[in-house]
């Protein structure tokens, strides 16, 4: 049933979108996400999808049109990167607070300035608190699988939140990889038909979307929105289980790699996890008990589960492909450290900021991080909490 193909990440995600066959796609192209909507527009042109394709004049409009379409009860998607996401920002929050099940591939790219088109996670980290669910991908296969699962997650009656599917710009989006794809019909059966919980087009039951809510009610709406995120985890796992039933591909909240008996470990998102696994294998062969944890679901943040998976480590490095410029540490570190500290874990934790603006991360870089961790595990002392990997000193 499954077919092996060789595709770039963008091609794989465009294919997933074709199979999801959304009612509306509104998009404005931006590197490195451009090809997703460009390829998708050829599917529209060739009549391979039933989608209304809306070419808009900016990303702010792309997200606005997507929100409008979702409010009308359509399955609506868009895709973007970096500065495009930044321009959407106002409406990105509205998509979540209006509880619209939108799916958006986000091809991670550095935010300006200086102007740069290459991979880092500053775009996704900028909207990590916007109320969207964030799924992260290590390679094209995961980007494809996550895109398909994202629709089911977003539309889950208990969730009703937009989902962002993150994948590293160029490293995943433009690299050719082998992956397994599903037949169109299998994807369509997996997602099923869509009955929106509310729609502006139901004339028998008129509704208003996005009204004013001032001091006497805004807080209650936000609390209710927070609850959707608090309750989302088991439903995300239900969808993953169904997906594994169809594909054999197992997904959880995160992936643990040789972590159970590890003494030193790193937490890293996205494609760098692939590089780090090679280093873990090499260190294991040398007798170093190294492990790795790759978050897949970053929002909702699986705090409790992470602590369980990481709490036994002697030393842990959290890798951030974005800086928070807060004179403290990067965003993923701040989340992980807060979860660990809140649970009274004794693991020594350090932070590495790496790969900004597409700076390459090699095996030797990751090895340096593990060496640092081994030193900390040996001495029991954290010398530097905040470290920059691969920057010229």
């Amino acid at each position: 049933m499954k077919q092996k193909v060789t595709l770039t990440g963008n091609e794989a995600v465009a294919l997933a979108m074709k199979q999801l066959n959304p009612d509306v796609v509104a998009a404005y192209p931006i590197t490195p996400a451009t090809e997703i909507v460009q390829i998708f527009s050829t599917y529209v042109n060739d009549g391979l999808v039933d989608t209304e394709f809306v070419t808009v004049e900016s990303e702010h409009s792309a997200m606005s049109a997507t929100v409008a379409a979702a409010s009308a009860g359509a399955r609506a998607m868009t895709a973007t990167s970096a500065n495009g996401l930044a321009l959407m920002w106002e409406i990105v929050y509205i998509a979540a607070s209006n509880r619209l099940p939108i799916v958006m591939p986000l091809v991670n790219r550095a935010l300006s300035g200086p102007i740069n088109i290459h991979c880092d996670h500053s775009d996704a980290m900028g909207v990590r608190d916007s109320g969207w669910i964030q799924l992260w991908s290590e390679n094209s296969q995961e980007a494809y699988d996550n895109t398909i699962q994202a629709l089911r997650i977003a539309e889950h009656p208990k969730i009703q939140l937009p989902v962002m599917v993150c994948m590293d710009g160029f490293i995943i989006s433009h690299a050719m990889e082998n992956l397994e794809i599903l037949p169109d019909q299998v994807v369509r059966d997996f997602i099923g038909s869509y009955t929106p919980q509310k729609t502006l087009f139901d004339l028998e039951n008129p509704v208003t979307a996005g009204p004013l809510a001032l001091t006497d009610s805004y807080f209650e709406f936000k609390r209710s929105q927070a609850e959707a995120m608090l309750q989302a985890k088991p439903h995300i796992l239900e969808v993953a289980q169904d997906f594994a039933g169809v594909t054999g591909h197992e997904y959880g909240l995160f992936e643990s790699y040789k972590l159970d008996d590890a003494e030193v470990g790193i937490v890293v998102l996205g494609s760098t996890a692939g590089t780090a696994k090679v280093v873990v294998d090499k260190l294991r062969a040398q007798g170093v008990k190294a492990g790795l944890l790759k978050p897949r679901v970053y929002r909702p943040f699986p705090a409790q589960e992470l602590v369980q998976a990481l709490g036994h480590l002697e030393a842990l490095a959290v890798m951030d492909r974005a800086d928070s410029f807060n004179a403290f540490a990067g965003p993923v570190f701040t989340d992980v450290a807060a979860a660990m500290y809140g649970n009274d874990v004794q693991t020594k934790i350090i932070n590495y900021i790496y790969g900004l603006g597409g700076r390459d991360v090699g095996l030797e870089d990751i090895e340096k991080v593990y060496k640092h961790l081994t030193r900390i595990a040996d001495t029991g002392e954290v010398d530097e909490r905040l470290n920059y990997l691969g920057v010229r000193e």
């Binding site: 209006n98 919980q197 509310k198």
Partner: protein, 93 residues
Amino acid sequence: MTTKSWRETVPGGWITEAGNALEYKTGDWRSEKPVFIPENCINCLFCWVFCPDDAILVEDGKMKGINYDYCKGCGICARECPTKKKALVMEDE
């Protein structure tokens, strides 16, 4: 002022009943209020046409006064009232 718990809110703040703006008494936004002087009124109903809310009370085609539950005190009615001796004047709340 609503007293609903967050658990009773409609997810996403959608309004699912039509016409429930009636339940929202906006009169307490007012810092000035229009006062109706019936003896000056010629029942032209300009005030009713121009009032941006639904705060001018009309019965049998005649101006009857102000619904202060909804009147926001914008002063448009008093400004548009065409009579020489105004039938609507603004006063401080």
